[in-house]
């Protein structure tokens, strides 16, 4: 039962990853007992499971995910939200209201208007229906300050790092509040514009070099150097 690549080696769609008694994990498929990659990414062999950590992908909703979205339409009984995914998400008015929603009395645009950004959680989704959102939990709702960075959703796990090592380091070093949307949108709000700029820079670096090793240390070093440089100016 051979495997054909080194661990964490770069693979392209159609590359033969393993042959024999293996299980096809993420971004792979099995045919005639052979496992192939379906996306460009880094191959992982874990026991019997073969998977590919994609370097570029789009966001497919999953129940329980925190996402950052933009209101694109105000309807009669709710909002349509662009969550950077192939599917538009729905947020129902009844979810936001304390009392029962009355379309004659309540003006939805006064709560969220087109163009507003929100942090929300996905409560229901299957491929036959568009995802349903909720903002009825602490930390969710309209975004009032900060800036938003877009990365490819495949890289969110890398920005979190192993057991949150990367994201914790980022928060510590920059002093910013960072909210990661699983859909590839990241909200950064800090005390100063300078600290926000630093966080954005770090995230861009992680995005670009996500497939290399020793990244957390390099990013930490970059932030320190950048702080030093600003201090000396």
């Amino acid at each position: 039962m051979p495997t054909f690549f080194e661990k964490r080696e770069l693979v392209a769609p159609g590359d033969l990853l393993a042959e024999g008694d293996y299980i096809a994990g993420e971004n792979t498929y099995k045919e005639n007992n052979k496992i192939y990659a379906t996306r460009i990414g880094l191959v992982e062999y874990e026991n019997r499971k073969v998977s590919v950590v994609a370097l570029k992908a789009f966001y497919i909703p999953r129940v329980g995910d925190i996402v950052i979205g933009k209101i694109v339409e105000v309807g009669v009984s709710g909002w349509s939200v662009d969550i950077n995914s192939p599917y538009l998400a729905l947020l129902k008015a009844s979810d936001v209201m304390e009392r029962t929603f009355n379309p004659r009395r309540d003006d939805l645009t006064s709560i969220y208007d087109v163009g507003d950004m929100i942090i929300a959680k996905i409560t229901a989704y299957d491929r036959t229906h568009n995802p349903l959102l909720t903002v009825n939990e602490p930390g969710l709702g309209k975004i009032t300050r900060g800036q938003i960075v877009r990365v490819t959703p495949a890289k969110i796990p890398r920005i979190i790092g192993r057991k949150g090592s990367m994201i914790n380091m980022l928060k510590r070093e920059t002093g910013c509040r960072i909210t990661l949307g699983q859909n590839g949108l990241i909200l950064i709000s800090g005390r100063s514009l300078e600290s926000e700029r630093l966080a954005v820079m770090a995230i861009r670096k992680i995005e670009e070099e996500s497939h290399t090793s020793g990244l957390t240390d390099r990013v930490a070093e970059m932030i320190r150097k950048e702080k030093e440089r600003v201090k000396n100016e």
Binding site: L10, A12, P13, G14, D15, L16, N27, Y29, E31, Y36, T38, R39, I40, A54, L55, K56, A57, F58, I60, P86, Y87, L88, R127, T128, T152, A154, E208, E209, H211, T212, R218
Partner: protein
């Protein structure tokens, strides 16, 4: 430019551009060249220059085209007015519409369309300069643009043509060779599984010649396939090496 040369193959057995019969034109591929598209790629195969962009998967517009069980793949092959010697009208011609269809059908088997129902994946192929073999090069770049967009695929699709000029079977015809030759045989395939996704022919070939031409085209596809993979990985390998110096 030489028009209608008398001989397409000289005494030494070389073609007009100095290639051997079984030699491809020089291929240069770049992936991720456009920042506004979800995925993109650019190819230069000899004098043919083609750009491809991919958008999606995204909501289908108009809505009624959406399929409940899979994504729709839409493809537009278009030649720029300046891509040929006589200005071409920018309106889609009969030929372009047909090519859009066959290119779409050549790519469809490679894409996991059933993963993303009710969405569309749109491919735009823009021929900037045409010198033969644009449908094949179009398929080659479009499959790279799909991979660059992060669309899951069974395999990349590589395409290459073979044909017959001056009574000899040759690989990768130029425009002049195509117009003055006896036959042209474009082939697209998924090389890993050795599945052919496009096979067309114009002109006349005997059964033996057809087999020879098909085998030659398949060999050409495999060479293109290697170039495709290299181009797709190049961007990432570059960064990795820069980091590790």
């Amino acid at each position: 430019m030489s028009k209608n040369p008398e001989k397409l193959i000289n005494e030494k057995g070389l073609r007009l551009d100095g290639r051997k019969p079984d030699e491809l034109r020089p291929v240069k591929i770049e992936v991720g060249v456009l920042s506004n598209a979800d995925g993109s790629a650019y190819i230069e195969q000899g004098k043919s220059k083609i750009l491809a962009a991919v958008y999606g998967p995204k909501e289908v517009h108009p809505r009624h085209l959406a399929l409940p069980d899979r994504a729709v793949l839409r493809c537009r092959y278009h030649m720029a007015p300046f891509s040929v010697e006589q200005r071409k009208s920018p309106a889609p011609s009969r030929r372009e519409m047909e090519l859009s269809k066959v290119i779409r059908e050549a790519l469809e088997p490679a894409v996991f369309l059933e993963y993303y129902p009710r969405t569309s994946i749109d491919i735009f192929i823009e021929v900037l300069q045409a010198d033969g073999g644009t449908r094949c090069a179009g398929i080659t770049v479009a499959s790279l643009a799909l991979a660059d967009a992060g669309v899951p695929m069974r395999d990349l699709v590589a395409a290459c043509a073979a044909g017959k000029i001056d009574g000899k079977i040759v690989l990768d015809l130029t425009d002049t060779e195509d117009k003055n030759g006896e036959a042209d045989l474009p082939v697209a395939m998924m090389p890993t599984a050795e599945l052919i996704t496009l096979l067309q022919m114009d002109g006349m070939l005997t059964t033996e010649e057809f087999e020879e031409a098909l085998n030659l085209a398949v060999q050409g596809c495999k060479q293109i396939y290697e170039a495709q993979k290299e181009a797709l990985k190049a961007k990432y390998i570059e960064i990795k090496e820069a980091v590790q110096e």
